[in-house]
Symmetry: C2
Subunit: 521 residues, 2 copies
């Protein structure tokens, strides 16, 4: 995710003890050396590109001179550090070697002409390097980390007197996910097995020194992504220390007034971003709730509960006189990508959802006063939502002055449990049948839809959507699940070019969570 919504007069508030606790939990990354499995040729396929094994395999002794090129296929998505050896052939090298390296999660990034890229998201995310190597033979160790399956090496020039042989290309892949913690699936359903496998790979590649949103872009800790990663983690890699570290980072480095930021940067030193999102801040409550539920770590619960409570207080400030979250015309709440989605109803639902989890925290902490407060807010907000946001005639929740009907609003009110189970089932069925208004566009929003179906006992429909939506990515060639996938507009990007879309994205890795939590018994 990347967009701007800077809070006013931003400053960072530091809780040194929390920040130190987070730093002490920094994991040692596991390393694995991966070599390419072969070479590919990338050719246009419709409006996209496809990779196919090269007719002749890569002859490793083939010297490359001016314009020489090879596209290596590492067989699967990788996150790590690449090194290779260049050996000169011919006369003694009388000029530097000049190389272009292109790293692609998908073939499009290798083949597309990106010279005209002018999207809003920084061009600096395009994984392309131009490199001069003054002295060969050389072992070249690239200092940057890349996320990729394909690596195209083009020798822009050597000299007329010599060429170079490329050998020993390897990627030292890194992760903080330990596969030995996984339990085998019981299901024999090949589609579920495949969805689980790709989910795990997506999770693994996003698990670094924090839960990154995407290892190509933005490579950082977003709270909305963390919530889904943590949920999946409890069912898979069980690296609970990493979740704890992330919680302490968010609690230790807050924005003005103790507001938990939407995301954090780790380098050069941990730093909260100046972006605030209404729903993301509240998800600190959810993350803490889920963490305690999964771990029973009472010390952390007690230490971080005040931070959770603070997020509720800050959110309640945004209510209007009716008890409805005031709408805003900025990018103030996430919910989903997609043009024109009004966030008011979803924000109201998220607040109710978080209040219920806060009430649970209060119960665990044996803090009846706080519990009572939460219940009061829940009642008031629920009544207000039904009174002002529920359109009885249309049978849907509406959002904003234009009374917009969207999938996001319905899904979040189901998750918030504003209605009982039966009404929720009817609402979801009506939603699927009528497909009214603003659709879902990200796997992140689809996740919440699947969760709403599961919560409402509509397991079969949930599986159907899982297989259709995430399965669609697999059928479209995904090695890891993508940040963005709109079956109606497969080549969409909110960023100006698909090349800067993330094709290994944490918030899309939740099929493993659904399968292992609900479907694998």
């Amino acid at each position: 995710m990347a967009i701007t919504n800077k809070i006013e007069n931003f400053h960072m508030e530091v809780n040194g003890a929390f920040a130190d606790k987070a730093q002490a939990l920094t994991p040692t990354l596991l390393e694995r050396t991966v070599s390419p499995v072969g070479t590919v040729e990338i050719t246009p396929r419709g409006p996209d590109y496809a990779a196919a094994p090269a007719e002749r395999g890569f002859d490793r002794s083939l010297p490359l001179g001016r314009g020489g090129r090879v596209c290596l296929d590492f067989g699967d998505h990788q996150v790590g550090y690449v090194s290779f050896t260049l050996t000169p052939v011919g006369s003694p090298p009388d000029a530097p070697v000049f190389l272009r390296l292109k790293f692609g999660e998908i073939p499009y990034e290798i083949a597309a002409d990106l010279s005209g890229y002018e999207g809003e998201v920084s061009r600096s995310w395009i994984q392309e390097e131009l490199l001069h190597i003054d002295v060969v033979p050389a072992v070249v160790r690239l200092p940057r980390r890349y996320a990729f399956r394909y690596l195209e090496v083009t020798v822009i020039d050597t000299s007329p007197k010599y060429k170079v042989v490329l050998s020993g290309v390897t990627c030292t892949a890194v992760t903080s996910a330990d596969r030995s913690a996984l339990t085998p699936l019981k299901t024999a359903d090949p589609e579920l097995i495949q969805l689980d496998r790709v989910s795990l790979k997506t999770m693994e590649d996003c698990m670094q020194t924090v839960f990154e949103d995407g290892p190509k872009r933005d490579r950082r800790l977003w709270l909305g992504d963390l919530r889904l990663q943590a949920q999946t983690n409890y069912m898979t890699f069980r690296n609970n220390g990493l979740v704890k570290r992330c919680l302490y980072l968010f609690a230790g480095l807050t924005q003005n007034e103790g507001r938990v930021g939407a995301c954090l940067f780790l380098e050069p030193a941990p730093q909260v971003d100046d972006t605030a999102l209404f729903d993301y801040s509240l998800f600190f409550v959810s993350c803490l709730h889920d963490y305690y539920e999964a771990t029973g770590d009472r010390e952390t619960l007690a230490e971080l509960a005040p931070t959770a409570r603070r997020q509720i207080e800050l959110a309640l400030r945004e209510l209007d006189g009716r008890g409805i979250v005031a709408d805003r015309d900025t990018w103030w709440c996430f919910l989903d990508w997609g043009d024109g989605l009004n966030k008011q109803a979803g924000a109201q639902a998220v607040l109710i959802y978080a209040l219920k989890q806060a009430g649970q925290l209060a119960a665990w902490l044996e803090d009846p006063a706080w519990g009572e407060q939460c219940r009061g807010h829940i009642d008031r907000l629920t009544r207000a939502a039904v009174e002002h946001l529920w359109d009885e005639e249309r049978g849907f929740f509406v959002s904003g002055a234009e009374r917009q009907v969207s999938w996001a609003s319905q899904v979040w009110f189901v998750l918030a449990g504003v209605f009982g189970r039966k009404e929720n089932v009817r609402l979801l069925e009506r939603l699927m049948e009528e497909d009214p208004g603003v659709p879902m566009v990200t796997p992140y929003m689809y996740h919440h839809f699947i969760q709403a179906l599961m919560d409402s006992g509509l397991k079969e429909r949930a599986v159907e959507y899982l297989k259709e939506y995430w399965g669609g990515m697999l059928r479209d060639g995904a090695d890891t699940f993508w940040e963005l996938y709109d079956p109606r507009d497969r080549y969409a990007s909110p960023y100006g070019s698909r090349a800067v879309n993330s094709f290994c994205h944490a918030w899309s890795s939740t099929p493993a969570y659904f399968i292992r939590r609900y479907l694998d018994s």
Copy 2:
């Protein structure tokens, strides 16, 4: 210089003792920190570009975002390592910084569009880097050495949320030339003072761990260049250890049959190139001659004389039955750049010139037998030259089957002393008056012309040409003397683009030699 002429079945013959001696003489480079003196704007001027101080000086606190650019002027030519600081301004940096750096010895390299460069010389010599900096603030230390006066920094992208301030840009300039060894000039002639100053700067920037031909390109030790650098060095920086090191490198690392190569590479390990040039191999004799004359280092003379003698033996093999060096249709002898120059006559003259220096070596070594041999060859080759290459009717030496008349042939026969002084004076005057046939194109060839004038006592004409030719470079904006300068075709390049011409080139640094040897008394 860069072109290909690979000898057959090339292998390197190593004299370990000589190579070790050379390595032990590796100088420690002197370092000096240089900061930019200001910023410039580079604009088209005719077919070239010119740099003028920017209307507003570079505001060092001015943040640069997407497309932001500044061109720094370091005030003079520099050879060294650049570092700078990038400090973000705005929100916490949420994407890497993506920079383009262009280094230029002249404004053309900054401003010209070189994307279509397809010259024979490697494109890898173009001093342009594309750089991703993942984390800012950062002190960026570029690992490569550059030769430049101008440095253009373009921020291709940061992100919409932040910009960067560029500060602390410095160049750690390196050289093995020590200015404290210089003696002040006596002359008050402002043109000579200026020519001397720029010569010294050119020398200084080419004096690294060896005498490089050009610090931008080829950055290596060419024997033809070494000869002129050493001659200038004896009159200026007096780093005689560096000359000795280069002599031992050439003698320690020879081609097949003990042939001294045209050039040497230093990295990854010292290595003679596979290029052989008839004149360059013979210049080993000249370099040893000049070195002993300057230093009286008898041990080196005795140790390296066999290598010198071997070059004479190998050259004599190339004589035809008449005692004339056989012509070849390859790039076998250098003399000068320029299309169509026939090398036969020049090669004959160079051999006579080298034989006379070999005779001097024999005398110093008190080796009358070798001296006698040399005199025999000199007589035979001189007679053959006059009989077969001197065209009495035209009054010029001719070369090759086409009996080509060139400046190079005449100049070299004057230097070889085939005629007496009076005839040489007449030959040179006729040459200057009639300007017959193939002209000179490089400062390297102009050097030999000036030397021929000096040897013949035509000092005034020598000064005239010095001021006209090297002074022309100064009037055209040279900070250091150029590899190539043809007043009739100022924008020429034998390489496909001026951008890969060397604008600080050792073989052009000899005005200081002429001034200090002949004109400063």
